[in-house]
Amino acid sequence: MDAMEKPKYDGSLIGKRIPKMDAPEKASGKTRYIHDIDLPGQLHAKILRSSEVHARIVAIDTGAARALPGVHAVITAADVPWQRPIGVAKDHLPLKGDRVRSPRDEIAAVAAESEDIAAAAVKLIKVEYEPLPIVATAEDSLKPGAALLHGEDLIVTGPDGKREVVHKASHDNVAMTFNYGQGDIPNGEAESVVVVEDVFRLHYVTHCCMGVSGVIAEFDASENLLLYSNTQVPFLHKREFAELLGMDPGRIRIIQPPIGGGFGSKLDIYPFEPIAIYLAKITHRPVKLIFSREEEFMASPTRQPVLLKMRSGCRSDGRLTFRDVETVHDNGAYTSWGATTPFVMMQTISSLYRVPNCNYRTRAIYTNNPYAGSFRGYGNLQATFAVEAHMDKLAEAIGMDPLEFRLINAQDPGEVTPQGMHFKSCGFKDCLQTAASRSDYQAKFSAARGKWNDGNPVKRGVGMASMLHVGGGAKIYPSDGCGTIIKMDDFAHITLITGASEIGQGSETVLAQLACEELGLPLSAVTVVNNDTDVKPWDVGVHASRTTFIAGNSALGAARKAKAKILAAAASKFGRPAERLDLREGCVIDKATGEKLIEIGKLIRSLHFSDKAELVMTTFYYEPPSHKQDKEFRGDVSAAYAWATQVVEIEVDTETGIVKLLKVIGAHDVGRVLNRLGIEGQIEGGVVMGQGYALTEDLIVENGVIRNPNFRDYKLVTAPEIPEIDVSFIETMDGEGPQGAKGVGEAPAICVAAAVANAIYNATGVRITALPFTPENVYRALHSNSQPPTWIAAA
């Protein structure tokens, strides 16, 4: 034993700076992402996408491609008549047979000996098109006489030859609608001394995960499907793939290799996944399909453009009276999760601040554009942009300090909003005051306003914005739960098998911390298993900032059961009541005396090697005490809610339109900090993602075609541009959260653009209501060389 390395105990692990457990592998290049995995006998797949934006497919000729040496299979829709529709509205088939609605549309696919051969074969496929009118914007799409994107029934033919309508013809281009109301808008207006109204235009951006999309599909000799997948929702996808393929879900196993970034992009099934599966089925070989970066830009999801009209009012004492909002979302050609972002937007619109009368109507509109998915923040960046602009405008209109105005309307702990959200822990006012005082917001705000006309072309300004987001899961499925299995070995090493998925956010480390804290073990005593649906228990997936809260409570529950089992065994062995015992530093101790009774490993060995052989292996399933919303969108959908305020300091060069983000001062109600290093990383990364949304990123789509599908023209923030970041944590110790913690993953990205917009106004006196704040857009706005967005005329 002495030759072995002894574990180090550092007391409590909670709140410490704990390095990410998988970081050494990643930093040394040893981590095998899906791109790095090759299976014996594997074929490589490539997809032929449409060269047209909107067209009927007249003919497809795959003869030359099939004849190319090294090609194992070429498939079109005709080869898989049994394919079934995918997506949230089940409105498209993986392979398009008669019509394309976007340049991303998949027409054929090749499996070949190498990527080069597959790519060469794809070029040999000839497609004859008959062009259809292009619906380029949501506004065009709503005009009378606009071409209908889904004006025909979508029909599939089952394996038995039976034809089935899987998506009904639609008589307009409206993909989805949401209507929410509380109170009475005319009453609110009547009480208002000031009413403001604006139209906001939010732009297209995309995830830009550094690891491009990919999948490997393989069938075994018994026709069981093994998928290596980057999915964020493996258990939901098992079920969906089973429906797509007419398989028993129990015969599908999903392995998630380490994922090169998610941010919501991997919440849906996209056509390339079933296509790889079809090819694996047809060729009886493992099939690997990896995107190029250009393909990643073209065929992975987006944060959708939103046109948002908002009217708001307040009383002379600063209290909000009403908010009336209508939005139109560019849904793109098909329906994915992007269409449901209003679920989140309405929370911000109705409940970030107390607003007694509120109305929210929204439509997601089909166009020939890239289709909208879920993206970190899920509509909240767009909603917050508008709400926070109006908070500043209303404050100014009644001559009130913007911080004071927000404090008057901010939610308090205990509040139940008209939408039914119950804010059990709520540090919103602390967030506002902390961010304001640490940034010296009020003084800087007043100083900047005094310099609008000082003749200096370079202006400085401060802007403030806050956010509300789910922080305790989101009950949008019947269950929002997660399972954990803890297996302890003879040396008190634990295997923590969690349903949760890891996309880089650090869940494995936080879950290990929570279990170790409970079991008195060091982190080195834990292996986390989180990537195989045949091994791990069910979990709804990594989304909605839920993993620390939900999977954390689940891991804690399993650890508590293991602890109880160990203490019961120790109690009987040492003849002391279990309540007197505890686990600390790898030992069972007597709480009263601090005496170390036995090493946990030794105790477990004595259990294993006795005639009453027993394992310390526990399971726990955590389901949060939240509720699905009713048909009117009312309900306490999360077990906890996260809050944050960010103040930004910017510099605007009025002669060039360049906006520099100098500093971001954030205060985040995170419940409790579990891993300080990890949570700082989430916030800094989110802030810079928000900076990209505000200042540099812009997916340029013209007539359905993406004009900048590369990192040269789609500008991500680089290291020299990052702001100074100052983060304060408001620890409200949520009663339901694991060790008091709440979710944080999406929060930091939400406020930045809204705060920058307010800062540009503070610096220049010009309110810009359209994103992004690129030099050209800002210059034009400052020099009255552009029109502010207007509402849709025909609608």
Partner: protein, 157 residues
Amino acid sequence: MSPKIDVAFKLNGVDVRTTVSPGMSALEMLRDELHLTGTKYGCGEGECGACTINVDGLSANACLMFAADCHGREIVTIEGLVSDPRTEALKKSFVAYGAVQCGFCTPGFVMQARNLLEKVRSPTPEQIRRGIEGNLCRCTGYKKIVEAISEAAAASS
């Protein structure tokens, strides 16, 4: 049949020979022919830095270099730096300072940071930010990467 080219070069201190096609990039050769997957494909256009390697002592994007051009050169990848003190210091500080999240860009950053520290022993934060401006990271917001490189510089100088 497409023509093939024989190349011979030093890879991570070892003489290697392989046969490549004219259009193949050094990145494809390293990953697909030589099975060194620590060098990542992020964009294939020299914009993201995930494929950063060292060629004759200089930082290079493996995706922009033809495999055939490796002939006669000395190539170093992340896998070849397991006993390089500067790289070890960098890896350690990347871990300790939280500079790794999804990790896909990390080997490229480590390679680029090593190159920077070879040229500038004690860079200022501004020099570090400039030194890694060709590498993209979508997770961390770069702050912790800059801190990690600063710390590694202090530790190894």
